[in-house]
């Protein structure tokens, strides 16, 4: 075949042709995607999109203004480049491409976002479970309109106060386990009717004649509420806050919904980026094999690709944590290698998948894991050696940092476990839950922070508690517990 184009310039016809070619290859590899919507935007619009966490529209809030100013300045001073694309988990899947990109970059981005991320959004169980891709855009429109209406009716300051408080608790506004789906009105009426019928069938007037046991309702021990600790603080506030008005509850709900929408993304950063990077690499190489792109295209593509998957060593100036693109790409590529060309070590470590069909294995991995479990399951000793991973132990009572384990025979399993834990939600967000709501007393709310291994909260906790107090309307206190014992004085914020 002849190459689709030469050189850096792109136009819409070319984009279309590349998209068609990439779609064909992706279909050959069996990628299942939502329909694509590719939108071309300017760098300024990209900055706008940055400020609203990539969403095409959001409700107005000062913190987004701050984000915008910060990004804009970093960009203007040349301290930060802009992403080539932003992709939104929606149906159809929207990808924003910057007009400044060259043809090669556009093709790279289409393969990466519109086929890689897209298929991940559609396939991964967390996204399937937690986000309604077909409804998110409508919900955003609703949220924006609702917030603006509230501003008109109740004033900017009142709305801002609620949203500020919600933002402070955003990370504690997600459900990690699914709630039972709410009953529809029809089902609920049917259930009540059935219960009523059952009671009627069982009716016996004789029961009424039994003497009452001397049960005095006042002396019965008060049940603690909530019966179980609640991890979704915003949900609890929304449902039970004694003071919030209806519109304020709705605002809490909006922030909570958005937070829930982002929840899978935070948990699958490595997998999601790795998957997309693996596929743009695989698809574009295939195109090159078929002669649809020329060598110049490939050189430019490889340069961008190499930049994306570079992992700086920990002692470098440019080190900014473990690069999720690098780790994810390496892991998926390695998984394919294990399937296609396993060596003795792979057979020992991955007996089930060594030598199996790589497309099926990768598809299974993409669908059923999140970062934490993905690393725990698939990180191979070879990769640990390649990344030269090592673990540092930072213990409070030690004057030194201790090298806990390195990429050697004794360290592999420990290292893998630690890296997996490092990507777990619990390591990023402290465990703070609603412990008690004194419904019949002073209506105070008690939060319990369960401390693990002596790791304290930051000082910002006091500010968060006072934000929560503003939402709650009655005293809020934060207790810290470790190993079932209370630690220190509770942090209290009275009305």
């Amino acid at each position: 075949m002849t190459p689709i184009s030469h050189g850096a310039d792109w136009d819409f016809e070319l984009l279309e042709r590349y998209d068609t070619a990439i779609a064909a290859v992706a279909a050959d590899f069996g990628l299942d995607t939502y329909p694509n919507q590719i939108e071309i935007i300017t760098s300024e619009q990209m900055l706008d999109a940055y400020a609203s966490s990539g969403l095409p529209l959001g409700y107005p809030h000062w913190s987004y203004g701050k984000e915008f100013i910060r990004n804009e300045q970093a960009y203007r001073r040349g301290m930060q480049g802009l992403a080539y694309e932003i992709v939104i988990n929606s149906d159809p899947c929207i990808a924003y491409l910057m007009e400044e990109n060259t043809m090669t970059t556009q093709a790279l981005v289409i393969a990466h976002a519109s086929y890689g991320h897209n298929s991940f959004f559609k396939g991964n169980h967390l996204f399937r479970q937690w986000t309604a891709a077909d409804a998110i855009l409508d919900y955003l429109v609703f949220a924006r309109r609702y917030v603006m209406e509230c501003e008109e009716r109740h004033g900017n300051d009142a709305v801002e106060e609620v949203i500020d408080a919600c933002h402070a608790l955003m990370m504690h506004g997600v459900d990690r386990y699914r709630r039972p789906a709410p009953q529809t009105l029809k089902a609920e009426t049917a259930r009540l009717a059935e219960r009523e019928a059952h009671r009627e069938r069982q009716f016996n007037d004789l029961w009424r004649t039994l003497p009452e046991r001397g049960a005095d309702p006042a002396s019965a021990p008060k049940k603690a509420f909530p019966a179980e600790p609640q991890e979704n603080i915003l949900y609890f506030v929304e449902k039970y806050s004694p003071k919030l008005e209806q519109w304020q509850r709705e605002l809490v709900r909006i922030v909570r919904k958005l937070s829930q929408y982002f929840y899978p993304q935070a948990q699958t950063k490595v997998m999601n980026e790795g998957w997309a990077t693996f596929w743009h690499y695989t698809i574009l190489n295939k195109l090159h094999e078929q002669g649809q792109v020329d060598d110049g295209f490939m050189l430019e593509f490889l340069k961008s690709h190499t930049n994306v998957v570079a992992q700086m060593p920990f002692d470098s100036q440019a080190y900014g944590g473990i690069n999720p693109y690098a780790l994810g790409f390496a892991m998926f590529s390695d998984l394919r290698r294990i399937c296609e060309r396993p060596d003795a070590e792979d057979r020992a470590w991955f007996p089930q998948i060594a030598g199996s069909d790589w497309q099926k294995t990768l598809d299974f991995a993409m669908r059923n894991f999140k970062d934490e479990s993905f690393i725990a399951q698939y990180l191979s000793p070879r990769l640990m050696r390649e990344f030269r991973l090592f673990a540092i132990a930072d213990y409070q009572d030690e004057n030194y940092l201790i090298v806990d384990s390195i990429h050697d025979e004794h360290g592999y399993r420990r290292l893998r476990k630690l890296l997996s834990q490092q990507h777990a939600q619990e390591m990023r967000v402290p465990d703070v839950q609603v412990a008690r709501y004194d419904r019949d007393g002073d209506r105070s709310l008690t939060l319990r922070h369960v401390r693990h291994r002596g790791r304290p909260l930051t000082e910002a906790a006091a500010a968060v508690v006072s934000h929560l107090q503003r939402l709650w309307g009655f005293p809020v206190r934060l207790e810290t517990w470790e190993n079932d014992a209370r630690v220190g004085e509770p942090l209290e914020c009275a009305a």
Partner: protein, 421 residues
């Protein structure tokens, strides 16, 4: 089903509303910064954006996070020399080694600095002065343009097509192109005649063909071509070029404190902004006076403290002298005077008379701002009494007492009203 959409033409300022929220939230800081800028800037440079800085801790958004302390392990890439159980001294400062679990985060700077655009700066400046909207639109405009005819261009909208020009071009082109063909035809014609007269039938036929070919080409010249099209051209030209001279007169005797000077500066700025909207060229003259007047530069005018008594007359006299010397013809003269009204003896009456007889007839508009003491009794100074009498009889003289910024504007009300009609 794939879709390609070009969104580049969509609005850019999607974050404008968020930015505005941000400015609103940090209004006090922004206002302080604007106040500082007003103090530092020269009148002529007043109209630009500027930098505002907000302490980082004020704009932080709190959330529950892990502080330092306790026990933890973290995995890092790029091991070169460590083996298990090595001991490493703790690095100084925060976030040991920098695990990516969000303990770090400070960028080092402790202030969040951002810039205010010209519009935002002016907005806050006007807000402070409680400027009415009519005046705002008048002042908010950067440049006034007028569209004027400027010859012809080769491209334009069909409605601007100049038929006569186009046909002239077309005629010229046709004449030019056919001229050479006519010459060639004459030559071929002559050759044909000679050939057929001599009896060379073959040659004659060749020339005949040549003739036909030329005729075809001649007919091929189009009546109208794209290159003939001419459109009337219009360009935007700035509004009438006129000049104005603005006299700033200020009492700098000891009783004028910093606060009063700040008020005075805003008063002068407002007039200056107004004049720059109306005139292409505005010259500033700064005259300060104690018991005698002198012309100074802006820096000295606003910032150099002087002490001494007050003789207003001297300043008016100097202003008039400068006016006759430099701005006698072709200039629109405006004068703005700021004083705390301390004048004694015969001075107020003399000044008022001089103003009425000499200055007012020669100027377009005069304003006087009396900077009263916010704490003092609202007793009227003798200068005020005299000036008030003058103001009654003259349209182009306005006086006003002010103790705070929002009271300045009314002194220009009449001026703005007249000029915006």
């Amino acid at each position: 089903m794939h879709q390609l959409i070009d969104r580049r033409q969509n609005g850019r300022g999607k974050s404008a509303v968020n930015r505005e929220r941000f400015l609103r939230r940090y209004k006090t800081q922004v206002r302080d910064a604007v106040k500082r800028m007003v103090g530092e800037r020269r009148l002529a440079d007043m109209e630009q954006g500027g930098q505002v800085s907000v302490p980082k801790k004020d704009i932080a958004e709190p959330s529950f996070g892990f502080g330092s302390g306790g026990d933890r392990e973290f995995v890092l890439p790029g091991n070169r020399k460590y083996v298990t159980d090595d001991r490493i001294p703790r690095p100084d400062g925060a976030a040991g080694g920098g695990g990516n679990d969000g303990t770090g985060g400070g960028d080092g700077d402790d202030a969040f600095v951002f810039s205010l655009s010209r519009e935002e700066f002016m907005q806050i400046f006007f807000d402070d002065l409680e400027l009415p909207h009519l005046a705002r639109t008048e002042l908010g405009r950067t440049e006034r343009y007028k569209s004027v005819r400027a010859g012809y261009t080769r491209s334009g909208s069909p409605s601007n097509l100049s038929v006569i020009r186009t046909l002239t071009q077309s005629l010229g082109r046709r004449v030019a192109l056919r001229g050479s063909l006519a010459r060639d035809a004459a030559v071929a014609e002559a050759a044909f005649k000679t050939a057929s007269a001599v009896g060379h039938a073959e040659q004659a036929a060749a020339f005949d063909d040549e003739l036909r070919r030329i005729e075809r080409r001649r007919r091929g010249v189009p009546f109208l071509d794209d290159t003939d099209l001419r459109y009337r051209n219009r360009v935007e030209r700035p509004e009438p070029i006129a000049r104005a001279a603005m006299f700033c007169l200020m009492d700098v005797s000891a009783s004028m404190d910093e606060n009063k000077k700040d008020l005075a500066k805003r008063f002068f700025t407002l007039l200056y902004l107004f004049l720059t909207r109306k005139y292409r060229e505005v010259e500033l003259v700064f005259i300060r006076h104690t018991d005698d007047a002198e012309e100074v530069d802006e820096e000295t005018f606003f910032h150099d403290p002087r002490s001494g008594g007050t003789v207003v007359y001297s300043a008016l006299e100097l202003a008039d002298k400068i006016r006759t010397a430099r701005y006698a013809t072709g200039w629109n003269v405006y004068a703005a005077q700021a004083s705390d009204g301390d004048a004694f003896g015969a001075d107020p009456a003399r000044s008022a008379r001089f103003l009425r007889e000499k200055l007012l007839p020669a100027t377009r508009y005069c304003t006087y701002l009396e900077l009263a003491d916010p704490s003092g009794f609202s007793q009227q100074s003798s200068l005020w009494t005299e000036y008030a009498r003058v103001a009654e009889g003259h349209d182009n003289f306005a006086i006003r007492r002010a103790t705070s910024r929002d009271q300045i504007y009314p002194v220009f009300r009449e001026l703005f009203r007249k000029e915006s009609q």
